[in-house]
């Protein structure tokens, strides 16, 4: 048969030689390999005490960003929900009323914004779709919980907390 790749290896099925049949050299070789592992580095992290460094491109929990003045950037346009392949995002929009200019950047804002973290596949397409730079994926992941409802993250779980300094100024 014509080989399609150069990766194939032909397996030789010769009868075992005497050295192979008495097993001892093979066993000694195996023992020396496992003995060598006494001196190799452990791959374990003692998790809650020591946390692993994620890669710089790690995609974790979402965050809803604010602008420089602490106003929510999200305008509830729904592009993130549209881009989401897992249909994890749902939102309801509302109109900004007078006196709320310091809270929302534009006339429309998200009254409700929910992400189901059990549906989310952390692909980051919402981040790419957002025209207002409002949604970002962070370097943390969802903590474990006993109830499914806990994994539906509400707006208050997602919006970036205000800078304490700005909260006082307001």
């Amino acid at each position: 048969m014509e080989l399609l790749t150069n990766r194939a290896q032909i397996v030789e099925r010769k009868p075992m030689t005497f050295a192979e049949r008495i097993y001892l050299p093979g066993i000694l070789k195996g023992l020396s390999i496992t003995l060598g592992h006494i001196f190799t580095k452990r791959a374990t992290y003692s998790y809650p005490k020591v946390k692993r460094q994620f890669s710089s491109t790690f995609r974790g929990l979402h965050i809803l960003n604010r602008d420089e003045e602490g106003r929510e950037r999200c305008t509830a346009c729904g592009l993130c929900a549209l881009a989401c392949p897992a249909e994890a995002i749902s939102m309801e929009s509302a109109e900004r009323t007078k006196g709320e200019e310091h809270l929302y950047r534009e006339e429309k804002y998200a009254a409700k914004y929910e992400i189901n973290m059990l549906r989310c596949i952390f692909c980051g397409l919402c981040e790419e779709a957002c025209p207002k730079d409002a949604i970002y994926l962070t370097q943390t992941f969802a903590p474990s919980a006993f109830k499914r409802e806990t994994f539906i993250y509400k707006k208050e779980d997602l919006v970036l907390p205000l800078d304490p300094a700005k909260q006082i100024a307001k």
Binding site: I22, I27, L31, A43, T44
Partner: protein, 350 residues
């Protein structure tokens, strides 16, 4: 003098038996810890580390867990045999420790001699052999009484494995007995009074055969035909739960310790250690005896570590490979060893 049984004699024996059982149980407990630690080290993990320093309380937690678990006896199991089997396995595991020579005799102030051996019977090795053969009954009865096909298959395999590997084991020991000229454990240990007099130098092939067969008799990987986790669910103890399962697992570890010590006694000089003559001359007698006991136990522990080490290195044998190795390699090899030993003894030591 042979039947001079007094109260102090009985008390002394009871104390020794109690100490041996306690040490065996304790070491078996920590063998499970060592098993997990060694496995972890071979696989670049850290192993148990949360329960106490270095996870040293892990065996206690495991034991407590086994006691707390629900005890299940299958409806169609033979209840009497089902309960009897783990106990039988445990008793057989502990019984073979009776002939082990732990240390030299202790001479008390009034001249009475206290031997650190429960029973100095002149057919010591044959006794060990008999008990080891009985050990498979626990497994057989357990598998049979469970009324489960996997259990029966596991116990059948265990039985055929035990029979196949007892033959080369016996043949290899036969060669050893021709060299020592005695079957009493006491004599065999006392003969090996220095590093060069260890039986392993006189009978290296017998030692290798004995070691391989010991793995098989212990039902340890690579010869784990009794359990076959990858084929037969849990083998003979599939239906067992709670401390009855614990007894089966525990008896395996006790067997491991006892047979390690027996191996140390037969081939590696038992309680002898380098520099013991100096200790005997310069230290009080109890220090000397204590160091000898320590020497015996540490030789045993070294063997336990080796057995664990092999388990986590080698893949398991298939059933037919196991039989091939036993009947076609080890028995001819043991016979050849016997023949060579005969020839050498006839030619040079006759």
């Amino acid at each position: 003098m042979l039947l001079a049984i007094t109260v102090s004699y009985l008390l002394g024996k009871a104390a020794l038996i109690g100490a041996i059982v306690a040490v065996s149980l304790g070491l078996a407990m920590y063998s499970t810890w060592a098993e997990r630690k060694v496995a972890a080290i071979m696989q670049d993990r850290v192993g148990p580390q949360r329960a106490g320093p270095f996870g040293l309380f892990q065996p206690l937690a495991d034991g407590l867990k086994l006691f707390m678990k629900e005890e299940i006896i299958p409806n169609f199991a033979n209840k009497f045999l089902f309960v009897l089997a783990p106990g039988l396995a445990m008793v057989c595991a502990l019984m073979s420790s009776a002939v082990i020579m732990w240390a030299p005799d202790y001479t008390m102030a009034d001249g009475t001699v206290y031997p650190f051996q429960v029973a100095d019977i002149n057919v010591g090795i044959l006794f060990v052999f008999g008990i080891v053969s009985l050990g498979v009954y626990g497994i057989m009865i357990g598998g049979w009484a469970s009324n489960n096909k996997y259990s029966v298959m596991g116990s059948m395999r265990a039985a055929s494995q035990a029979i196949s590997y007892e033959l080369p084991m016996g043949l290899s020991l036969l060669a050893l007995l021709m060299v020592t000229g005695d079957t009493s454990m006491r004599t065999i240990v006392q003969q090996q009074d220095s590093f060069l007099h260890m039986n392993v130098w006189k009978q290296p092939l017998a030692f290798i055969i004995y070691l391989v067969c010991a793995f098989a008799e212990l039902n340890r990987a690579p010869f784990d035909m009794a359990e076959c986790e990858s084929e037969l669910v849990g083998g003979y103890h599939t239906e067992y739960s709670s401390m009855k399962l614990g007894f089966f697992l525990f008896s395996e570890y006790i067997n491991m310790f006892i047979s390690s010590v027996i191996m140390a006694c037969l081939f590696f000089g038992g309680y002898h250690y380098p520099g013991m003559d100096w200790v005997q001359a310069h230290a009080p007698q109890w220090v000397f005896v204590a160091t000898c006991i320590l020497a015996t136990i540490s030789k045993g522990i070294a063997f336990i570590l080796f057995i664990i080490f092999v388990r986590w290195t080698l893949p398991r044998f298939r059933y037919d490979q196991l039989m091939n190795l036993g009947w076609k390699s080890l028995i001819p090899l043991a016979l050849l060893n016997l023949l060579i030993t005969c020839a050498v003894i006839l030619k040079f030591f006759n």
